[in-house]
Symmetry: C2
Subunit: 331 residues, 2 copies
């Protein structure tokens, strides 16, 4: 592990001269520079970034905390973020909280020991007060979660309007009996999607039918269960709004299993626009969630916090409907 000192000794100069060569700053005699460069190569010297970090008290590391990296939604966000960070010379320290508040806090707390310059929390589960606490101590960005406190920087798209638009679309296609495959009721984004569903019905003077709303987990299997649930009903909806694509896929899969056709027998709209939605048959009509851009924006916003001269490009942070083949017009 060779250091500046080793080079200096070998080249018969002071460490400072070597440092100047390494950083390419200040005046150095061309001859000595050449000599030093040779020695550097010979001894395979590389600056110790830890020492540098200590000196300038910044690390060029950003901590990213996600609930579950196996979920493609977060994987794509992370990719958006790391790509940008790397372009600006920052490394990503990555941690998976397994969706547990305890882990989440433990991870973020460690960041307070100056191993990173900033923290990005993706869809965190912790209570609001914790973000105030963190934000007071280190540059913090919260992604995909609405934060009341003005003190905490965050990126959040309200999913309600686009969910409403999705249901509006079903109604425009002649459907009035619309089922909700509602997912878990303790995740904010999901609740906003439900709100959109309710708002659309209300706007069209369609009464809400409690049995038409099915609440469950967030997975493919939950879509399967949803189908089974609705299948047992005597008078069942002609169209379904699933609050995420995975459930919509499960629903469709099970419909096929039972010999039903989509969109012939039932229409389905999902939410998120995951990769698989485009690939199945019929391709799923859904609402795009620009997670990659959210990730990139998070990176830029963090970079800007650390260096106000950084330009944050414009991203269109909107959910957009993607019309494909899973809805039939019955009007």
């Amino acid at each position: 592990m060779t250091t500046l000192k080793d080079i200096a000794k070998r080249a018969n100069v002071s460490v400072m001269t070597v440092s100047r060569v390494v950083k390419n700053s200040g005046y150095v005699n061309t001859e000595t520079r050449k000599l030093i460069e040779a020695v550097i190569k010979e001894l395979d010297y590389r600056p110790n970034e830890i020492a540098r970090s200590l000196h300038r008290s910044s690390t060029n590391n950003i901590l990213l905390v996600v609930p579950d990296i196996e979920n493609p939604f977060f994987a794509e966000m992370i990719k958006g973020t790391t790509t940008v960070l790397r372009q600006y010379g920052y490394q990503s320290i990555f941690a998976d909280s397994d969706g547990e508040i305890g882990n989440e806090k433990a991870i973020a707390d460690r960041a307070l020991s100056r191993i990173v310059d900033g923290v990005i929390l993706y869809c965190p589960r912790a209570e609001a007060a914790y973000f105030d606490f963190l934000s007071a101590r280190i540059p913090l960005l919260v992604v995909d979660r609405r934060i009341a406190s003005h003190a905490v920087d965050h990126i959040y798209i309200d999913n309600k309007p686009s969910a409403q638009a999705a249901v509006d679309y079903l109604i425009a296609n002649g459907h009035r009996d619309i089922g909700l495959i509602g997912g878990p009721q303790n995740v904010l984004a999901n609740l906003r999607r439900k709100s959109g569903y309710l708002a659309s019905l209300k706007a069209h003077d369609i009464p809400v039918t409690d049995q038409y709303m099915f609440f469950c987990g967030f997975e493919f299997e939950d879509g399967v269960s949803a189908f089974d649930y609705f299948w047992r009903m005597e008078r069942r909806p002609s169209a379904y709004f699933a609050t995420n694509d995975l459930m919509a896929l499960g629903f469709i899969q099970q419909a096929h299993e039972k010999g039903l056709a989509i969109p012939g027998d039932f229409s389905v709209v999902g939410f998120d626009n995951i990769a698989m939605s485009r690939l199945i048959s019929p391709a799923l009509t859904t609402v795009d969630n620009p997670r990659r851009d959210m990730g990139a924006l998070a990176a830029f916003r963090m970079l800007r916090k650390l260096d106000p001269t950084v330009e944050v490009p414009q991203f269109e942070m909107t959910n957009r409907m993607v019309i494909r083949g899973s809805v039939r017009n019955i009007a």
Copy 2:
């Protein structure tokens, strides 16, 4: 940003005494300890890990480099690794090479400036010599790639035997015309799967038919193309071995699209056992690839390199057939 010195000043003691309290080492008078602890709390002191790292010249960081975090295969491996690392007090620095050799090397090279204690490369693309270079400078582990050099630590499962077993299984079910959906020909694991296919045919004295082998990418769409390719043939195979599940899924999807039944009309076997394979209908018969365990093993092996007292648990690093519903016995 409060330091030991601040605490010391406030408590009227030396930094060393404070340090002892913080690290809970050595003798400290109970009274002074209490006082110091109070001041620590009051000033919200946290040790500077960078300074510690500099001193002990180790960072407790491990660098993980994957070709693409959006690929669930890698996401799961990473999860296996980070979970173990975290249990042992290590953080994961994460980087995505986008599958490009240039990025891969640039990332790993940065690791040489002592920001991490070790490097784990997942399915790297670089040439063999580079691993020797890296391995000579920093603890290195290469995962999911066979390495000739004995000097480079690696974790690798030869996929050939299990691929062979998969094709054996088709043959045992009465199939003799077996198509290969072969994926890309520049990825080692994939080539080994093809070798298994060939070996099985040979072992059963079934001649190899060139037109029965279709080479393509690695994605869902490639499975779709494969179906279209075979569909055009006059005399087509009754069974297919896809060298990964994603392609098998695309194949099945397209078969359904064309009104064909699996396994009624064609039998299909995949490889990898991704989550989706269990969920579709018919559930896919495939070969499990223990990526999560590979990830965990990678972590343990790295930990052991850094600290020889670490115990590496036994993992059964084998591909295992998962029999589900996509193969029909036509004997």
